[in-house]
Symmetry: C5
Subunit: 307 residues, 5 copies
């Protein structure tokens, strides 16, 4: 299966050896090593939703060490978190799992229709903590999108110079969109395209619905009959919209939900040619043994061991 | 015809040898090499309009490699695209076609009356990707015009220091103008002048109509009887407004339209002394064979092989 | 008790030796040296409330030297103040007490609903004045929170590079919150989490009430039965919310109040596993002899000498 | 008359030798060389008003070369223009006439009550183009005046470090002033003072009327009986307001008008002790032979050859 | 009296030798040399109020040289002015009087309720002009106070690094205050405290009235019976509020007024322990001989030669 990693790396031929090495680190770690698939553990909910909403249901998660250990023990490809959480364990767990430093975050003590996350870490922080990649969230559709795109531009240029990989969370949101439109297939595909054009190596989007948000796009989807009826078809279209599959696209699990439902989604991602999942709340908000079993099932689906 | 290239280069005598070399690369590549005419393939629609609206009608175009190959095979002078699209092929196609890195882009998930594109790439990016030029869009007439002009000023100074050429898309738009005014001859000529004064080496404008937008200008056009009745006359006036023809001015094809109409426009550009076309959607939104034939006809018109 | 300091330092294993040394300086100075507990004297009221409101009741405090001497004589772990106050004595008292330079401050000659303090000092200032740490205030809940978080991000990165410790005053305030919500247990715990995620080594928050401010949080506190009835329980929850106790969290005394009340609070902090207090107005707004007695009682409570 | 140049240079004794040399270049070039008087050709109307309004009446002016040649042939002291126009001829005409690079410009495709020009060039541009000075426009009275003053501050510091001279166009305009107030004697004198205090070596203002705009100023003009009845008296007052005549102050001709009227103004400037004129539209919007004759008459008035 | 200078310098023990030397230069120059008292001549009215309002009553003052000579001849401790005025004489008068470069200024062609001066000079300018200090105005109470405090922070850090002294004009003004409140004793004392905390070496405030502006402060002044009935008492309180007299505080004379009144104020400043005066309009808006006599009387009062 090493060939699959080489194939994926060939899509990033303009990047330097350092960045290619770090993309390879993500792809060659954990239970899915070498398959070209990824399951990433992200834990930014403490900042985004507050500590009790994030960790009270499984209090082990108040500790930053818990998540390092969970990601390692479950065989995830990488662990992603904001500055404080990574600083609290990066030295102790050095070399045990690829790290992704989330460089911007948003809290809900002050809310606004058009969100703009704060930049809370730097490429230098990622380097001193031994990370393989930086992560950055953009909200296409927000009136602040220019600010986010330009922050990302600078960070991405800097990260690439330093041989890091760039992971972009592209979540449509803001006054330019209806609530339903945030996960509309045309909008999610557009968000993936934007992240790709901005130079992302790995793109993270939400799973799209069959809704079509924008009038001009709707006309095209209908006239050219883009298949979007099933989840697998929609995943396939998002992957196509990410440079015809030449960028790694992974999908987020969203809020905690029924296991069967999440497994069904993983099958859709796999069958549509998606590259994997980034699963936070569904992993760390349950007892560790459960979480490991749950993650292994998902990994099994991606590895083709489970149908 | 090499003399024509030398003549054109003589207009840029204040530029350094590196920039002159890169302008020459644009003029000495492809089927129109040495004629002083250019046909450029731009593909920024993925960012500007979203992936399906751009590529669903000819799905090969989802792949960034498609456009490199199309520009090369059709014998275009250059290929222009945003960061992601160029990163995805620059290494693979190194040295096969001059590249123009578009340094700002605008998406339609959040729309506003007075647009301000995001800066999405840098001069350093252009250098590491082996580009001949950087591209930048300004919207004269927008309330954000100062921001765009000042971003361009910094980029142009930096690009010229590094021996790159500077291509400016000058598209009047925003609350200062009526919809009809965006392509009015006085406004388009003014937009060309602004780009030239800002230090552009190559200026890209839309084809102007005979409409006159601004009262003070209208009076002058009428009293001094500037000929603007035919397309060729209007092209001639725009070229004159670009330092009396001492700057390269090319015209955009706009939305997909009838071939005969586009050819007629090319004749107007040629007869008015324009330097060529930048043709995106009319090229890549049709099957490749068709596109090549279509582009060759336009090149034939510019080369004088087709009347 | 030196083991306790070593234990605390082990939580900061990703920091460089300089920063660890300065955290140790805070923990190994004064009457509580080596206990893992801290009592810090902060004097920023001159800037925040004006000189007479701060010092008229005990006029010795108009002099910057008074506070250095008080902190030293009372055996505090550190003395924290803005630039002017530290400049006025840092050379004279060099090496006699660890100093914390407050890098932002806010005055009340111009008030606003969503406060944004001014940055009034720099990491370089802290270095030239021989400080062990920089201090910075954030107001989660303010519409200006992004600005503060990003100022802190830069300062913290810079301070850590230079081997300083970072102390964050995290005070929820602004249009996102009700007045009662500023000290609600869910909000204070969230504020502590934010400071920790932003990379604070030492976190200072206000003592929380049992009020629950945010609907989504209230639901979780109730369903998971987080104990918040007593002050000790609430302190415990805040400490838990600060990386499960792996960050130093100290509590502010607030406005001048009854001694018995303050001592009761200190017992609550101690019993809940808090790391100590930062006590300004209750110390310097009374005669020095009184202040020393008062502070020694609090230290005695933390040291376990007084029940 | 060389003594007069030395006398003028003595006013700039705090400047470095480079800047003094460049001020001297302006004063020792052309027909007025050595007299201490200047006639400067400025051509920024292409940017400010658009190409047709600027050049249609004398189409030779569309070419950037035309203006270099006109300024040289007419014996002007210097030629001032924005980046594009200077780049288009600086190399070709190197050393034939002192150049002033206008570093900010404003177009009329988007208009606003309180104007803020765009910065469109840099001190580095001026250096690479071999200029003697940089030019910068401020609009005292605009709500954006701080931005302009601070841009000028940085540019002037940089220019002086590099040995360039600084020419400031000081044009009162904006919501702080009535239309009539823009040329009121108190306002024009104030605008000259501001430019001088900001460190301008050469100040350009409009010719003032006898109107008094500001109440507090009116009272002083009347009580101290400042003579402002004739143009010469007003020019004298503006010169006095420019450090008692120790700064070079030149006056703009404004829109195209009757020759006799312009000559009358030149006499007023001369008789009031002004240092000369900056004449754009009245020069290049007429046939070249006419323009030369017209400019020579004005130079003759300044040289005292014509009464 | 040299001991008094040494005593004053001891308050600035955290400053480097360069800054101490420059503070000493201010204290050891002119008729009051060595007394610890200062009379400074400031001439920024040309920028602040316009030239005629400033100089028409004594036209010699239009010349920048006039003020250098006046300050030298009258034996002032220093001369303070904006960039242009200092550039016009700094070389000529090099070494004859300590200079203070005012780094921000405000004009009245555009007025606003919440003023924000423009930064019009730099620390580098102060160095190249041989200044002993930089001067900077803050308006506590303005909605723009953050901007001013942060500009001052940067400038002060830079100035101190370069061994210059920092003089802060602290003038409460803006929407946070009533007109009467601008000179209220609580507000002026607060303004002095803010300047001191921001790191000023020399603080300039207006003479306070007995009015109390802020409710919370009023309560404290009344309950602790701070004596504020006489001018001397109020000066004493302002000095106390400036680090208990460990910072140099001087008072401004304000608009032109009766000599007897100004002398009475000087006695109040002296008797309250103030460090002197900064006197502009009362000096340069009268004939030079008068001005010298007037200033000598004030100096005599400070020196204790005149009661």
């Amino acid at each position: 299966m090493a060939d699959r990693v080489q194939e994926i790396l060939s899509w990033y031929s303009s990047d330097n050896a350092g960045t290619k090495t770090n993309i390879a680190r993500l792809l060659r770690h954990g239970k899915l090593a070498g398959t070209g698939k990824l399951v990433v553990l992200p834990v930014d909910q403490g900042f985004e939703h507050g500590p009790a909403r994030s960790f009270a249901s499984n209090p082990g998660g108040y500790s930053p060490l818990y998540h390092f250990q969970l990601a390692i023990d479950a065989g995830c490809n990488a662990y992603a978190a904001p500055l404080g959480f990574l600083e609290a364990g990066a030295s102790q767990y050095a070399g045990q799992i690829p790290l992704i430093l989330k460089l911007n975050s948003h809290d809900t003590l002050h809310d606004e229709k058009d969100p703009l996350p704060s930049v809370t870490g730097s490429v230098n922080d990622a380097l001193r903590l031994g990370c393989a990649a930086v992560g950055f969230t953009i909200y296409p559709g927000s009136s602040h999108c220019n600010t986010m795109y330009e922050q990302l531009r600078e960070i991405a240029e800097d990260a690439k110079d330093c041989g890091l990989a760039v992971v972009v969370w592209s979540y449509p949101r803001g006054s330019g969109l209806s609530k339903e439109g945030e996960t509309a297939i045309d909008v999610v595909a557009y968000a993936a395209q934007i992240a790709a054009q901005l130079g992302a190596h790995v793109i993270k989007v939400k799973l799209p619905t069959a809704h079509l948000e924008q009038g001009a796009a709707k006309k095209v989807y209908e006239s050219t009959r883009v298949p979007i009826a099933t989840l697998a078809e929609r995943v396939k279209h998002v992957v196509q919209s990410s440079f015809d599959g030449r960028r790694i696209v992974i999908f987020s699990g969203g809020a905690k939900s029924e296991d069967a439902h999440v497994f069904e989604e993983a099958r859709g991602i796999r069958d549509g040619g998606g590259f994997g999942s980034i699963i936070g709340r569904n992993s760390f908000q349950r007892p560790k043994a459960d979480a490991m079993k749950f993650l292994h099932t998902i990994m099994g689906i991606y590895a083709g061991e489970i149908q």
